[in-house]
């Protein structure tokens, strides 16, 4: 079920009141929300409901054992749990990739391998719920979280607003909220409606427009486009993926708020970042902190010397890249970010960690450099192969002056809106929400109804899947 569809609207119209009514008894509510979430997930392909249930059961049983065990057994159990979870992800997401890569490598040396691909269908959201399940067992192992009952854990893992594309919510952020009845008189409705309306607009209007009007044709055939078109397509993709993904998580956060639950923020004006480190504190924030806490720090973080720190940064981002998809283009994307983060770290180490407060011009220069490095990495992220990404990069320098019919006023306008809106002061959206919250019921309904009409009228026919559904 996609959020911006009539089917989901009907689903939510039923679930919202029933969820609040069921909250009179939280045991009943948990069973209700598990059932609703499984319907939501099974709507796409009911077979994979068993996969979600299996992952839930495996994680729950092992978390209980980890909690009870001590010493070496505890370590062995957490290793077993994580291995099982990663095996699930590995089989569905990476099996064919590794088989084909091994086959091709062997082929280059004139060796034939007796292995074949299996055309495995990737279950929606598997990367997200697997990571949440891993954080549950690891937090239990670290003693940071006490395992809960199966219905409590199942409600946490399957809660439909975050199920298929995040945000990646940690156990201690959501499970305690699910313990106590939410107060139906204190719902942050104006923020919820603001997030849902802006998320819808970002996805349906901005992301879809840029995808169809410039990104898709240019990234598919860079050789037939001018340098200017390629440059604008890269910037447009930066806005497209931001609008698409942050639009989805805005809607997810808004929907959870209406149900009485608060999710962590996932985006914070990422294109205003002054460094890559700063970018990763603003982009897909729940993934970056997951990578930090469950990968970078266990690898040693910055505790094992400078060189090891750089190595850890690069390895973390390479694996973070691979998490996005089974393709070498994602590995290169992660490699660019990892190398960039290591470089920034090296520069900071060289200056002894002392940083002068930069002037306004320097801040803007840092923003410009950071944005363009991020865009360079996006080229690999979006391209279907490394060869095509190179075509994009070389095309940036070789065809200036050629006609650029795809660089239209509409494309440039949405790029300016997509990047410019990130520079708006925080008080601006807060002011809108505050004013909206003071409107009478009818006034709020009129504003929201008009926003719905605008999004539908300005967007193209049909709703294309969210980019992060594939991850």
């Amino acid at each position: 079920m996609l959020f911006p569809t009539a089917t989901f609207t009907l689903f939510f119209l039923v679930v919202l009141p029933l969820s609040w009514l069921a909250m009179a008894d939280m045991r009943r509510w948990r069973l209700f929300i598990i059932a609703a979430s499984y319907v939501f997930y099974g709507w796409w392909d009911w077979h994979f409901v068993f996969l979600l249930a299996g992952c839930t059961l495996w994680t729950h049983v092992l978390a209980l054992q980890i909690d009870r065990a001590g010493g070496g057994t505890r370590r062995a159990l957490v290793a077993l749990a994580v291995t099982g979870q990663l095996s699930l992800l590995g089989y569905f997401k990476y099996y064919d990739f590794f088989v084909s890569s091994s086959h091709n490598l062997a082929h280059d040396f004139g060796v034939g391998l007796p292995i074949s691909t299996r055309s495995i269908v990737l279950p929606v959201g598997i990367s997200f719920f697997t990571f949440m399940a891993i954080s549950y067992v690891v937090d239990t192992y670290r003693g940071q979280f006490k395992p809960v009952t199966l219905p409590r854990f199942a409600a946490y893992l399957s809660f439909f607003p975050h199920l298929v594309a995040g945000p990646i919510v940690r156990p201690n952020e959501l499970i305690p909220q699910m313990e106590t009845r939410r107060d139906p008189r204190r719902v942050d409705t104006s923020r919820a409606f603001y997030l849902i309306a802006t998320g819808l607009f970002k996805k349906v209007v901005i992301a879809n427009y840029l995808a169809t009007h410039i990104c898709d044709p240019v990234f598919a055939v860079p050789g037939s486009h001018s340098s200017l078109e390629i440059l604008i397509a890269v910037y447009a993709y930066a806005v497209q993926i931001y609008a698409d993904f942050s639009g989805y998580t805005d809607m997810a956060i808004g929907l959870a708020l209406l149900l009485g639950f608060t999710f962590p923020q996932n985006f914070d004006s990422p294109y205003t970042a002054t460094s890559l480190q700063n970018f990763w504190r603003r982009w897909h924030m729940t993934l970056s902190r997951w990578l930090r806490d469950y990968l970078y720090i266990p690898l040693g973080g910055n505790r094992k010397g400078r060189v090891r720190t750089y190595f850890n940064l690069i390895v973390t981002m390479l694996l973070g890249g691979l998490w996005h998809g089974a393709s070498w283009t994602f590995v290169v994307w992660g490699g660019i970010h990892g190398t960039g983060l290591a470089f920034e770290r090296w520069r900071r180490d060289r200056s002894g960690g002392v940083e002068r407060s930069p002037g306004r011009a320097r801040i803007w220069a840092q923003r410009l450099v950071t944005f363009n490095v991020v865009c360079l990495a996006w080229i690999f992220f979006r391209s279907d192969s490394i060869a095509r990404a190179w075509e994009m990069i070389t095309g940036l320098f070789t065809r200036w002056g050629a006609p650029s019919p795809l660089v239209s006023a509409g494309v440039l306008s949405w790029i300016v809106v997509g990047i410019g809106s990130q520079y708006l002061p925080a008080r601006f959206p807060l002011g809108i929400m505050a004013r909206f919250s003071r409107l009478p019921v009818l006034g709020q309904a009129v504003v929201l109804g008009a926003a719905l009409m605008l999004a539908n009228a300005m967007g193209p026919a049909g709703v294309s899947p969210f980019i992060y559904y594939r991850f």
Binding site: L13, L16, V121, R152, F193, V221, S224, F436, L448, G449
Partner: protein, 367 residues
């Protein structure tokens, strides 16, 4: 763990604020949502009715049409459709709501005992030396246009990439791919009018088409009087669908262009693959009836694995295993589309002379 106190008594909401905004009650939120939907439905009634028309045939479409039809009437009567009209007008998309179900194709040509080439510049039989193939050169390149449903988009891009490697083929009109369209629903998107129009504007020498991915339904609009479609792939359906396929080929041939029709590929859904196979047989038959006017490219077999079933990975020319299918199991990945593009170029090389200019250029250089 306790699951909280007893039932909540909803009292008058106390005004609480966070960051200057008032918190509301869940009940209020529900009322706002319902009213916003009612208001939004009225404002967007025409658009919703249009999208209901576009929906695939079935009970959901019927219910949605029964709901949005009268709603659009009410919206129009009270003037609520005006804001949407202004938005569409400002965007230059006023024609979004127009519907024309005319299946504007020529009548089929009379059948003769021995099929003759429809276009005299093409070989009726590949390699037939009795018919001189038209030669294209870098100064007079073959104009290639690509059109169809979503399945044509990746092959279209692949053809654009392939055309960059030769000066003798020029792609025109971009890739005219419209998702969720087909030949059975001119009310959703009228390809017959679109192709007629684009032929005049673009003047292509060859047209690559792909249709049928959304046509595996027991429903068609624009059917002639007296024809009733009741089941997918029954004789009536096959006759009417064949009329549309054949009509499009005739339309394009009469404009002087050759047709390369991409068949539907095998998919990861057996039922859908079987339906695609049935549609392919109709297309193949129509192409066979028009020798020299069109060629059918069998992508169904092209993308079948060694066991004849669906395969996501196939070996490319270099022997490397490449991912040829999109994650949805229906569309082609760029590497798969490149395979189709190579095959299309081969077919065009049979129908036209795309290489003799090289010999002439080489001879001129030697002199």
């Amino acid at each position: 763990m306790a699951s909280g106190p007893g039932p909540i008594r909803i009292r008058r909401a106390q005004v609480a604020e966070v960051d200057g905004r008032r918190l509301g009650s869940a009940g209020r939120a529900l009322v706002v949502i319902v009213l916003a939907l009612v208001f939004g439905l009225l404002l967007d009634a025409r658009g919703l009715h249009r999208s209901a028309i576009n929906d695939p045939a079935g009970w959901q479409r019927t219910v949605w049409l029964d709901f949005t039809g009268p709603l659009a009437g009410v919206s129009g009567a009270i003037g609520f459709e005006k804001p949407r009209e202004w938005v569409k007008e400002a965007l230059g998309r006023s024609s979004d709501d127009s519907i024309d179900t005319t299946v504007a194709v020529p009548a089929p040509p009379p059948r003769s005992a021995t099929p003759r080439p429809v276009l005299e510049t093409h070989a009726a039989v590949p390699g037939d030396p009795s018919v001189k193939r038209r030669a294209f050169t870098p100064s007079d390149p073959l104009r290639l246009w690509v059109a169809g449903d979503s399945l044509v988009i990746e092959p279209g891009y692949a053809l654009q990439r392939a055309a960059l490697a030769t000066p003798v083929i020029k792609t025109v009109g971009g890739v005219d791919g419209h998702i969720a369209t087909g030949l059975d629903r001119p009310d959703v998107f009228n390809w017959f009018l679109e192709i007629r129009h684009e032929l005049k504007v673009l003047k292509p020498n060859a047209v690559v088409l792909s249709f049928g991915g959304n046509d595996d339904k027991a429903y068609m609009t624009g059917v002639p009087p007296g024809v009733e479609i009741s089941a997918f792939d029954d004789p009536v359906w096959r006759r009417e669908y064949g009329r549309r396929v054949g009509g499009l080929i005739d339309l394009i041939n009469r404009a002087g262009a050759y047709v390369v029709w991409l068949g539907l590929p095998i998919t990861d859904d057996r039922g859908q693959s079987a339906r695609f196979d049935q549609i392919n047989s109709v297309i193949d038959q129509q192409v066979e009836e028009r020798p020299g006017g069109a060629v059918y490219l069998d992508t169904y077999s092209l993308f079948a694995g060694p066991n004849g079933g669906y395969a996501e990975y196939l070996e490319d020319l270099a022997g490397n295993m490449v991912d040829v299918r999109a994650p949805d199991g229906v569309h082609l990945a760029p590497a798969g589309a490149d395979i189709v593009a190579r095959q299309v170029l081969k077919d065009l090389n049979v129908a036209y002379d795309l290489t003799s200019w090289r010999r002439r250029t080489a001879a001129a250089v030697t002199k």
